[in-house]
Amino acid sequence: MGDISVDQLAEDCYAIVAENAGQKKVKAGDLQKAMAAKYGDQIGRADVKAAIKQLMDSGRTVYGYFGGSSIELPHKEAAENQ
């Protein structure tokens, strides 16, 4: 990995998830593609995986499922009961 830190990638990924919140389900593959487009050879797939892991472990994002798995901001599900 070059000069791009996992922290930086996590911020970039978070921004994409936040921007799309409530509109489009963002998948891990979408983030891989977006980061590859932005940083090219400076990063690898493992770096983006590490960034997603960091977002999940910190609780800033959560996994969602609606037909397929997605990465989302924590929120209350419409189906959720008290």
Binding site: G29, K49, M56, V62, G64, Y65, F66, S69, A79, E80
Partner: protein, 402 residues
Amino acid sequence: MADELKTPLLDELEKGPWPSFVTDIKSMAETKEMPRDLLRQLEKSYEDKRGYWKHGGLVGVMGYGGGVIGRYSALPEEFPGVSHFHTVRVNQPSGWFYTSDAMREIIDIWDAHGSGLYNMHGSTGDMVLLGTRTEELEPTFQALTEKGWDLGGSGSDLRTPSNCVGPARCENACYDTMEMAYQLTHNYQDELHRPMFNYKFKIKMSGCPNDCTASIARSDMAVIGIWKDDIKVDKEEFAKYIDDGFNVKEFVVEKCPTQCISVEGKEISIDNSNCVKCMHCINRMPKALSVGDEKGFAINIGAKAPIVEGALFAQSIIPFMQIKDGDYAGLYDLIERIWEFWDEHGMARERIGEFIERVSLATFLEGVGLEPLPTMVKAPRDNPYIFYEEYFADEDAGEGEE
């Protein structure tokens, strides 16, 4: 306890000679609200002819994107016991071998944190713990991991790898299915717990072509044990089958799909070059015939159940491979090339079999760097007007096809 449990429609399912899930759940309904309201809600579903579950969407344990299937009752006021009814998948041990202590551990954890109901096992292989509340998920996970258990896969991830008992109990095993499942599970923890694929990906391992895990029909990647050399014959044991009056002609020779077995008196000969390893003769005469010595496995890709598109059978892509000295690098490399190509070019909710159907096998093979082989031919070509040699010759000469 609240009102008397009245379930006349469900009671019908207790009649007859078979074990009944209604009886099982009733045995717990005396002491727990969750199984009790589960029966009451199900009775209402039967009365009204409609389901009352809502898919939970977003529940799980911190950091994991799989292992929990969220579910809520659509009638929480009427059935508060099943207001939340999430399912937890627990990664089963290789080959489904448990000690009784291990079973008790799971049961105690689920009695403390969930409904106490479970399935052994789900279709992917996991132990399926049925019914708990959102606030009990983290404590359940903690209790499980403290005892060395882990959650299985769900969603668009690698599903829990599963395998037949293989060499642990079966002389037909052509590779160590238990070890392979263990290694894959450990090597791909990230892919198992953090959904990153277009859709689910199942790997099942069977030690021989009997395929006791039904991998050829039910997994995206079927790893099936196979041998390369000749079927082994124990002549004395074969003679005993004849002496005992076993009708070899009717039950074996005539049933061989390629008709490659012949028997003269008490002697059997097999034209191994024409054997398609169907296992029939070995299954019928296990004392006399056995799998060869040069053992390994074949890799088949793309099976799935008929949910979105029709059902697909797996397609052979590697006819023979071996693990030598515990080195899984070659297998990992292949799996990762497949995932990468599918990830890059697949569509959301597209299983790998559907992906291959869409892009064509030739494109897939090129994308993952595999050579086409005769074993990959699904059916003989049925268009007599294409002559490949001429086609390529014309192309070389820069002439277009008519």
